[in-house]
Subunit: 470 residues, 3 copies
């Protein structure tokens, strides 16, 4: 009755027998190498407290907007999935799991299907395909596993082979969980914070004044002047660096940058604080602040990463009911060449400055990102992100940039995930795709086998370590 | 002497033997399934009157701008092809056919070549390749076929296995041919109209006032007020629904939408009617009207389809001599994420609202359309349209969206054609490409064979029926 | 110890055995056909003077920004590579060569790797892979070759099988080297100039007045009026045509065109000459001048080629130290449909007008360029240019346009290179990729083998000859 769930050993590898053979050989080299995860969204608290995960739904479904949005598009109300603080009781949790299993076909062909299938089979030992019929059996099996010590966060962290895990944190965060982990001799992994100051850099937000005040308090620095505000940012960056941070992440609607005279920036800051700044002025200040952040990265060495071009919270009704990150952030066109010119003109040639460009607008890979990374020693072409962290899109990324800049100007893979259990599946997917791509290059005699062998390993070791200064 | 014309049984299937074997098996399931054609441009009159088609040129060449434009670009004057009302006599028709056959190489590698080859061989039993030498023999053979009863519109309709055919009609059309077909017991097919109100929604057109008057007359509704105008539109939609319509189609230069206050919309309507509206105002009114049409779709259930981003009538000299739809409509960039936000914010979560997004700007598939369709239950990712309804582009479409939204958020294939005889070839092309794509997913172990088998059938049955509420 | 350098006979051909066999057969037809190079940047002086090339670095590295930019992005200072007039002595030249060889891995997977590997092996007989270890041996071997008569420019020209080579020249150039070559009976090749007036068409440049004066002097035509300026341009175009030119090349930031009334154009010209024109006015005049150039092409028959959409000199510090063309030109989005409408509306249907559209924005291939070339007899879809003259990008180009316009509306390959020795490798790459693409079409039964055979040859003979009126 049950349909087996058996991820194939050759999944995602090229289908042509000659090329697949090369890809297999390359993948065998890297399949079990440790995971370097320099950008993601797993809460450090999970690892510091090491509490057992709850039920399968609250672990695997509710927090994963990749997964809930497709159910929503199929007509499933988000509240029945426990999204956005709609807490489910045991019956609700089981019902959500049934809904998910019943809708298994909606994931056919998707990245989510790839990940979840590999999680269920690879981590939890599930052997039958999700369906209305198998839902309860799988739910019960997952509950049983999650009660075992081997399924606690730290045990999984070890089992996943994670060497470095970066989290994403608010500049005001006291990083207590990172501190606890660092001080805990029983935890041998590395978990580092990342500085994510977006909200503080958007003077057009209605809550900006409150945020700036909080930043000043966290930094113990008066923020009544432009210089004080910059100092507060510097202080919090320093605090993050002291706690192991290697990067600062930025995600605004665009990557347009400007360079304002300090006096002008000060005037705009004062106006924004006084609530008298026009939208044009708050936008100009935000764009100048991105340049300032590059300057601070030059000073303090934090790798600067950009994740632009998302229309956040597209559905206001969904935002009201379920809060942000509930599956309705939608990509937009983005422009790097002109937008980043002021920033790069000022800092692009600086020694040891690293600027990693991510995008969900694939058109920029061959047109803008690769050409920039192929000239500026500071610029790295970031791995495909979010909607395009997916098999065919990853292949398009490699095909779009490799002709132009090869492999050493790229960031290496980042999983960027809140879904802790998807980390191995995501890295597995990336490794398979990269080995497949390298195998194609070998089969077309564009590189030699020994070069591909070296590259396959470097793509999961040296290359991310260099880009993120690990 | 004659070169044979023999479309290969494996045409368009993957070339790798292992993958081709899977694709063949999938295609065998769907090759002969009935055709569902929920959007196209075949005149209902052809079927209602069932007159024999004329000569080969007036059937296959003159009305098909896909075909005439490439001849034009090769230097052939459009008037010699019978384009835009330049009626050809028998000698002219034969000469045009010779020109076409003589230029057969210009179609090498194109979608048009695929379609016409399959029409000639599959429908008309032509067995030699078009060329200067074979032109007259083929012309004579076609004339002989077209004189046979088996080549009348209804006989072909049956032979093509068309289950549902949607036409595209002006809101003022009385739909007499649809009525006749519905009343005719000897015709067992389904031919439904589609509501296409573009012209009436563009207050910037010089002839808009005349159009609005005609709409009011057709609806028997006074249109001297904004409310009256909306009522007239509602009335005509109702009339179409009573005649079987399931969708309303919209094609403007962009898909920017706005929501105006009713009083403001009324003021703009009055100004537009009085001829005193500025271009900004008529554009705002057009954009608001698109939102209104979504609202009416929520009310009356018509599926809303969007076909934006075309620069119509690029060459004014060609427009003067040959009228619209003469091959010089050129795609432009289009933007959905911001443009549709006001409309979707108001109606995107409404029960049973269907909004199908088509595009000729491929960059929007992975960046905008799939992410929107992956969240809003109302949004469907439309099949590649017009210039990109072509083998490699269709593959890019599947590769661009499937990673993200799988198959069930897509529209299914639409042929969108005026070329009646190309309908089977177009659906055949789509089925082959989809089976090939599914076969690749199976061969890469991304889905299982049983899933691909189910999907191959659903893609030509349930999926278009659901998107278009058939 | 040495790793061999042996470009494979099947390099870049499809990897599937069945398809590769077809591709091999097609490639065998064209591998040794003469080279037609209708657009490039080799100095005519090299051929007219036929002096031995200098050291390997000044021949192969310093002038090739494709190659130096990747070294720069890897941290190598441009001055150590002899870029931008930083002349190297013998030790510096050898050191630069060592740096290049030591950084050989940065080119893995790139177009540059493909070219340079084929140059080293195919032209210079180098048999070991560049590396820190082999650098000096290769350098010495290259020096020895370059001292031989067989490695002088004209000998290489013959050995490369170049039939026609177009250079790119300033309108004020007296074309003395072209004259000498034409008059030299011992030189049997064809070397023609191309008219490249960009600088003279940009009234917003600070040095524009000086340039216009120089143009007037070169044309012996007073340029104190708009009519005089146009006459001076016409005169220089005539001079170029008399020296064999077949095309005029244009590369501005965008391809927006306008049509100004002559009186208005005159007013803007006078204001620009007087230094009183606003930026909007100089931009309008530049855009009108592009339309004027199309008009002159209609008059005098020069093929008009467009290479738009590059942000020139992105790094001002690099520009100051190393001048233009030093590797930091970065592509931007470009728009053709609306931008070229005024120009095409005026001249697009003119007999014998040829307008070849190149782009580094791949999104325009299927969306704009192919649709334009599929209607206007004047428009040709140019081969992928610069950053996208690379294996995967070339495949994307063919896949993006062939569905729509086949092969006869394309320009044929152009190498666009300053790197003389890369010409055979570049044409070899293009031929392999085109044969591979044709083989795929045959294997998918989209065209027949005899058609592919004819096309493979036409793509390197008739097609570029027709587009460039050779």
């Amino acid at each position: 009755m049950a349909t087996p769930l058996t991820p194939h050993l050759d999944r995602l590898l090229p289908t042509s027998p000659e090329v697949r053979a090369i890809a297999r050989e390359l993948f065998a080299q890297v399949e079990h190498l440790p995971i370097v995860s320099p950008h993601g969204h797993v809460p450090a608290q999970w690892l510091s407290e090491d509490q057992p995960f709850g039920d399968p739904t609250s672990l695997l479904i509710s927090p994963d907007h990749y997964l809930t949005r497709l159910l929503h598009s199929a007509g499933v109300p988000l509240e029945t999935l426990g999204v956005g603080g709609h807490v489910l009781d045991e019956a609700g949790s089981r019902a959500a799991w049934r809904t998910f299993c019943d809708h298994w076909p909606v994931y056919r062909g998707t990245q989510v299907r790839y990940w979840i299938e590999n999680e269920l089979a690879g981590i939890f030992g599930i052997t039958e395909r999700p369906s209305a019929d198998s839902a309860d059996r799988i739910y019960d099996a997952l509950c049983a596993r999650l009660a075992e010590p081997a399924y606690r966060p730290r045990a999984l962290f070890d089992r996943f082979g994670i060497e470095v895990l970066a989290t994403t944190d608010d500049p005001c965060d006291n990083l207590v969980h990172h501190e606890k982990l660092a001080a805990d001799e029983t935890f041998t992994g590395t978990v580092v914070p990342s500085f994510r100051p977006d909200r503080y850099l958007e003077p057009g937000r209605p809550d900006w004044n409150t945020l700036v005040d909080a930043l000043g308090a966290a930094a113990d620095t008066p923020v009544d002047t432009w210089a004080g505000f910059l100092d507060a940012l510097r202080a919090r960056r320093r605090y993050f660096i002291e706690h192991g941070a290697v990067s600062a992440d930025h995600s605004h609607a665009d990557v347009v940058t400007v360079v304002l005279e300090p006096a002008e920036a000060g005037r705009l800051y004062d106006a924004a604080r006084a609530g008298t700044a026009t939208p044009e002025q708050t936008t100009a200040l935000r764009r100048h602040l991105l340049t300032e952040m590059a300057g601070m990265s030059v000073e303090d060495g934090l790798v600067m990463t950009l994740h632009p071009g998302i229309y956040r919270n597209h559905s206001s009704a969904t935002l009201r009911s379920f809060g942000p990150d509930s599956g309705h952030d939608i990509p937009m066109q983005v422009e790097f060449t002109r937008g980043l010119q002021p920033l790069l003109d000022r800092y692009g040639l600086e020694q040891d400055f690293h600027l990693v460009l991510f995008t969900v607008d694939e058109t920029t890979f061959s047109r803008e990102i690769a050409p920039l990374a192929g000239f500026y020693p500071s610029v790295y072409a970031g791995a495909p992100w979010w909607f395009i962290d997916a098999p065919d899109a990853v292949r398009r990324y490699r095909a779009a940039i490799t002709d132009d800049i090869g492999f050493y100007r790229t960031s290496g893979f980042i999983d960027d995930t809140r879904a802790f259990c998807s980390i191995p599946a995501r890295h597995d997917m990336s490794r398979r795709l990269d080995c497949g791509f390298l195998a194609e290059l070998v089969a077309e005699h564009r590189i030699e086998l020994d070069e591909a062998q070296e590259l396959a390993v470097q793509l999961v070791t040296d290359i991310p370590r260099k880009a993120f200064k690990l």
